[in-house]
Structure formats: C-alpha cells, structure tokens
Symmetry: C2
Subunit: 388 residues, 2 copies
C-alpha cells in the first residue's frame, strides 16, 4: 500500500521525498518499506535531528544502505525527541503526538518511528535507543521494538548522529515480532527459530513503587502467562542506575553538540539546551565516577543473567502521559516523568543487553524482555513464540 | 484512555454523546469500552443507519443493554455503509475512509465499527453481518471480527434495524481475539479455552480465480501455518451463492424500508435506492427459488462441515480498494467489487455458520475460519490459540 497524500496530523514525518528510495529488485526484504529516524545519514536527504540548532553530519548510514541492498525501500525520515535527548517526542517542530490520541505523547525519542509503524505507514522503522528511545515509544504506541546487544554487527551505528557513543544502539520497531525477525534474519543470514518457554528461567524485575496499578497488573498477568507456558518466574531486585547513566550521556551529548554550544542561542529547546550545558559543566571526576558506578551495575546484571535466561520488566511506568505533562504518579508518589521512565529502561542500554519491548494486555503499556549479551536471536525467538 | 476531542477524519462516528453510557459498576466487562453500529437502538441516542432517508425505529437493543449490565461502557454510534446494504462504507454522510489510508475504503457495512477498533478508540465494536459486514471491514482494517451462529442467544438482533432477517447477525469486532473471547465469556457464562490445532481437519476453500496474488499467497501461508501446528489441510470446493443470497436480502431489505420507498425521492444514495427498488420488483417465485437454492447450499456446507472441523477461506479478494473504485482485478479478470467480495463471505451468513475473520501475514488481508453451527466456542478457542 502507498500513502501518497499522508495527512500526518501527528507530525511523525520530518522528510518525505516525492518517491521512496527503492531497495534492490531481489533480496529477502523485497516488498517491505521502512522509515528512518532523522539521526541516520541518508545521501540526498536532509538531516536535522528534529532540532533548529545546527548538527554535525554523521556521513552515510551503513545500516540504511544494507537494508536497501536487501530489498527494503526507505519511505522518508521520521521526527524524534529533539536530538534524541528525551522520552516524550517534543522537538523544535511542534512535537509528535500519539498515533491514536492527539492529547497524549507517543514516547520518544523514536517518536515518529513508532507512529509510522502504529499507523501502518511502513512495515518497520529504524530507531535508536540510548536510554529507552526504541522501547518507550514502542510500549506507549502499542507496537514492538528491539534494542540489540550493544555493538551488534548487524545493527551498525556508523553514519548515525550520536547522542552517547557509550549507550547508543540502532534498532527497529514494527507492528509484530515476525517482521523484526524477518529483518534480523536478512541482516545476519541466520535463522531465528521460535523458542519453547518450558523450563525458561525468568527473573521478574517489577519495582512495585516505580509503576502505577495498571502497569503492575499488566506485568503480573504477563508473568502468569509465561508461567502458564512452563517458565519459572522469580522476582529479582535491581537498582536505579541514573547516577551512572545521566552523567555519561549528558557529557557525551555535550561533546557531540559542542559546535552548536559555542553559540549563545544555538536553537535548542530550553530544556535540551539546559541539559547539554549541564553535560558541558560535568567534571572529569564526575564522569569517571559514573563509569565506575556503571561497572558495578554491569556486574549485578551479569550475575542476574547468569542465574536467569531472561528478565521480564515494565517498559513504562504508566500508560502514555498527556502532552506537556511533566510529572507522573506511580506507587511511591509523584515523580518527574523523565526519571520515572528512564530508570526502567536505561539499565539495559547503559549495560548493552539485548532487549525487546512487547505489548501487554493493558493498552499502550509494554513490557521488556532482556536477554544475555550476544544472545539476541534466542531472545527474539522467545518473543516470536509469544506471538503465536 | 479517553478521547475527548476525537478528530475523526475518517468519519467513523455517527453520534458521540458528551459522556459515554456507563456500564454497571461491577461485572466481567468493567473497564471495557465499545462502539455501537448505528443500526442498534439505544434509548436517548439517535438512529439514522447512516442514511438521509427515514428508517423504522427498531426499539431498544437487548445486546447493548446486556453489555452495559455486564460492566462495559458505550462510547457512541459508528457509521455504516448506508442501511448496511453494501461493503465499502459509503453513505449519505460522506462515507467512512480507511483508518490508515485516506484514499482507500475501510470495508463495510460495519465500517465505522472497524475504524473505531483499529484506531484504539474503543476495546470492541458492535457490528452486524448480513453478507460479510463484520468480516470484510475487519479484514481490510487489520482487526478481528466474529459472526456468531445465526440466532445465537448471546448475540440478540432484537432492537437492531434489520436488513434481512434471514441473514442478519449481530457480532463484535476487536483488535484481538482475547477481547472477543472475554465478551463471549461474559455474555454466555461459559469459559472459552484455547484449542489445540493438532489433528484438526481443515478444509481450505481457496477459489484461486476469485482472489489476487497477494490474497492467494497469504492464504497459502496461513494454511502452511495451520499444518505446522499439526492440522491436516485439504482443498475443498464450494459454489458461488449470490443467486440465493441477493434475492433474499434485497426482497427483505425492500420490506424493511417499505415506508421510505413510498416516497419518490426518499433520500437514499442512488445505488442503495436502485437496489431497494430491485428488491421490491422481485416476484414471489424468484424469492422462493432463492430459498430453494439456499437449501441446496446448506446441504453442501453441512456435508463439508461433517468432514472437516473448520474451513479456512479468504475474507476479501484483494487488499482494500480505493474510494470510488467499482471493479477489482482478481485471477479470473475484472469484476464488480460487490460480487468479488460477497461471494467469499455471503455463504456463511446466508447459511448461518459461525465465522471469524483474522489478520493474515499480508497487510489488510484477512482470512475466515468457519466452524460448525452452534460450535462457536470451539471456533473461538481455535482462533484464540493462533494469537499466542
């Protein structure tokens, strides 16, 4: 299907060429279309990262090129939360709204990516995920997302404007796991088989005070479903990692955008600008301490993943918030939205473990399944088996 | 989630009250919302059947009342193909468009119903199906639909404006079978368990000349999937039934709308008006012959359903056509859209067998699964098992 006169009331699209970039005539992805988050370099297409500030040119995305070579066609570029530094979808072009409710946010930073698949405009979307930027909009838009193991050779970040080289991942969103698996198989040349859940050891990370009643109930139902398939489910603890995540990401983001930051008013939205200035102001010691904390968290995650095959966790603390809403009510009280969301998703990008976001029984509430480093295909096979 | 300022560019909604009709405070459907096709009588809400012609008052829908008593809340009324006599979604109010492509039709006659679930505006939608009016829009909008056994006590057509009392069914559309099963269980008080496909005998009705390449391939993949689950799949023939279906439906529809037809220009769209006049002009002999043909088809279907547990068939001949498109290209050539569509779906409403429409691997192409008369819950259990 084609969408020649895309009305786009959600402002999902940053750039739509008159005709798509056609993929190769033959290949495993012939017939599939995809959208490209406007952080990926595509020759001939503008790159603005959904900001009015100047941004560096990352060169050409190897991943986009490879997908075209495999037969998929690129339809255009999608909007993101400004420079990918945020989780609602706000940017210098009015911001993207939820695909099905104009009063709510779609999540971000891969906001237009999630909208483009939720509205059936493409078969899959290229997003990026530094702290949850694929998983959060997937969860809030009712679609699926896959954040590969950090450095996965099939999911190159070469030619993608960085936010934080330590935490950045490239990955896809789609309406179903089947499509994600099809892309994975094409990129890797390996078959992804559905995996039996019988005997799978699941660690349930559900910090009850961090989510609202809707999410808590959805996670319990999800855990019960996995148990019904023969998995063993056991509750596990894991700490908040934002003391490591935030300094690393902000300091690296400030370096990425150092040219723009030389100007007094570079054109960023006020919150983005303040965050980048905060990143500039971090001392070497503060960043070094953050990396030290990260090493500790990595050891804890490695320990968990040695005892469990997969972790099950919420992808979001609540259903999608209203546009402009800055705080959210969870079990332990009112919290800034950014912290409430990121503390659920940032661990697995900070620590590089492969993670998928999948819809639950509650509308626009997703769960995360986290696998062992490098065991992406097993994780995808487990997720595929849940799709029937 | 609520949708206080529904933008409705698809024109799915015929009537949206300021606040929903709230369901009972307790019950198995508390928390679920539904839309009501504008053929159902709801006290205090207008009924126009998406026509500018006058229509009879059917009284109060017992089904809507029962769903409210079970705890579900009714959000408003959805548009349909004018008086339910057609399969595209055209009506006297501009017509409804596809949820995800403004240039295409959503299918009908339960067009707004399908759009309301595809766009997550409600959890389920009440539709009606006389020749395919639940299954066709479900298939073209990428959602699921369930046409119960004719006369199913849980799915009363009392208080629903008829099109054809011989063929009319009330039933639901939703985004997933899980929701349809939840409603079924609430209405019947019976549990619907997922059914094992191993050993299930599937009759594949795929008249190859009646569909296009996309649909043919989608059906083959679907059949292969069922075989992979242990079902045996065998191709079966079945004839075109429109020589029975059309006279019965048109003659009964002309009786339903006899008051309006006393006027020279009652306000129907030209095609609807011509069809109703054609129904008026049918002789008793022609209608009697149609019922005789129907008896023959019923014997053939009974024979098939004695040898097979379930039939698998296309729900639509092609993906959704463009608005205004009147012909469609299938294997055997160009055909009027109405005939190309109805000959796939009308058999199972003409003959009253329970049928679900489910998405396939091809976007906006659905399949039908047909069960034995009265064995609705087994059919729903088989469909549920496919959802994982």
């Amino acid at each position: 299907m084609t969408f020649p006169d895309l009305p786009d009331p959600q402002r999902a699209w940053a750039y739509l060429p008159a005709s798509p970039l056609s993929g190769a005539a033959e290949g495993p992805l012939v017939g599939l279309t995809f959208s490209v988050k406007d952080l990926y370099g595509v020759p001939g297409w503008p790159l603005r990262a959904s900001t009015r500030a100047p941004v560096p040119d990352p060169g050409e995305s190897m991943l986009v090129r490879r997908l075209l070579d495999l037969g998929a066609s690129a339809v255009g570029k999608t909007h993101l939360h400004e420079v990918a530094l945020g989780i609602t979808g706000m940017n210098g072009f009015g911001g993207t709204t939820h695909p099905f409710d104009p009063e709510r946010v779609p999540g971000g930073s891969s906001s237009g990516a999630a909208v483009s698949v939720a509205l059936w405009q493409v078969d899959f979307a290229l997003g990026t995920d530094t702290g949850g930027s694929i998983r959060v909009p997937a969860a809030w838009c009712g679609v699926v997302g896959y954040k590969p193991t950090k450095g996965h050779p099939a999911w190159s970040t070469e030619g993608v404007l960085p936010l934080s080289w330590t935490c950045d991942h490239a990955g896809p969103l789609a309406r179903d796991m089947r499509t994600i698996v099809q892309v994975q198989e094409a990129l890797t040349g390996q078959t992804v088989a559905p995996q039996d859940w019988a005997g799978v050891k699941v660690g349930l990370w559900l910090p009850e005070g961090w989510v609202d009643d809707t999410v808590r109930e959805a996670l319990r139902l999800y855990a019960a479903r996995l148990a019904g398939l023969g998995a063993t489910v056991e509750a596990v603890p894991f700490p908040e990692v934002l003391d490591a995540y935030s300094p690393i990401v902000l300091s690296e983001a400030a370096q990425v955008h150092s040219e723009a930051l030389k100007e007094t008013e570079p054109g960023f939205l006020p919150f983005t600008h303040a965050s980048l200035r905060q990143g500039q102001a971090l001392t070497e010691e503060e960043v070094r301490a953050a990396f030290a904390h990260r090493a500790g968290y990595r050891a804890q995650l490695d320990d968990l993943l040695s005892r469990f095959d997969v972790l099950l966790a919420p992808a979001v603390p609540t259903p999608p918030p209203l546009v402009g809403q800055e705080e959210v009510e969870v079990g332990e009280g009112r919290l800034p939205l950014r912290r409430a969301v990121l503390r659920l998703t940032a661990p697995f990008s900070l620590l590089g473990a492969p993670t998928v976001a999948l819809p639950s029984t509650a509308p626009f509430v997703g769960v995360q399944l986290v696998g062992r480093h490098g065991e992406d295909d097993r994780l995808l096979g487990l997720a595929l088996a849940l799709e029937g």
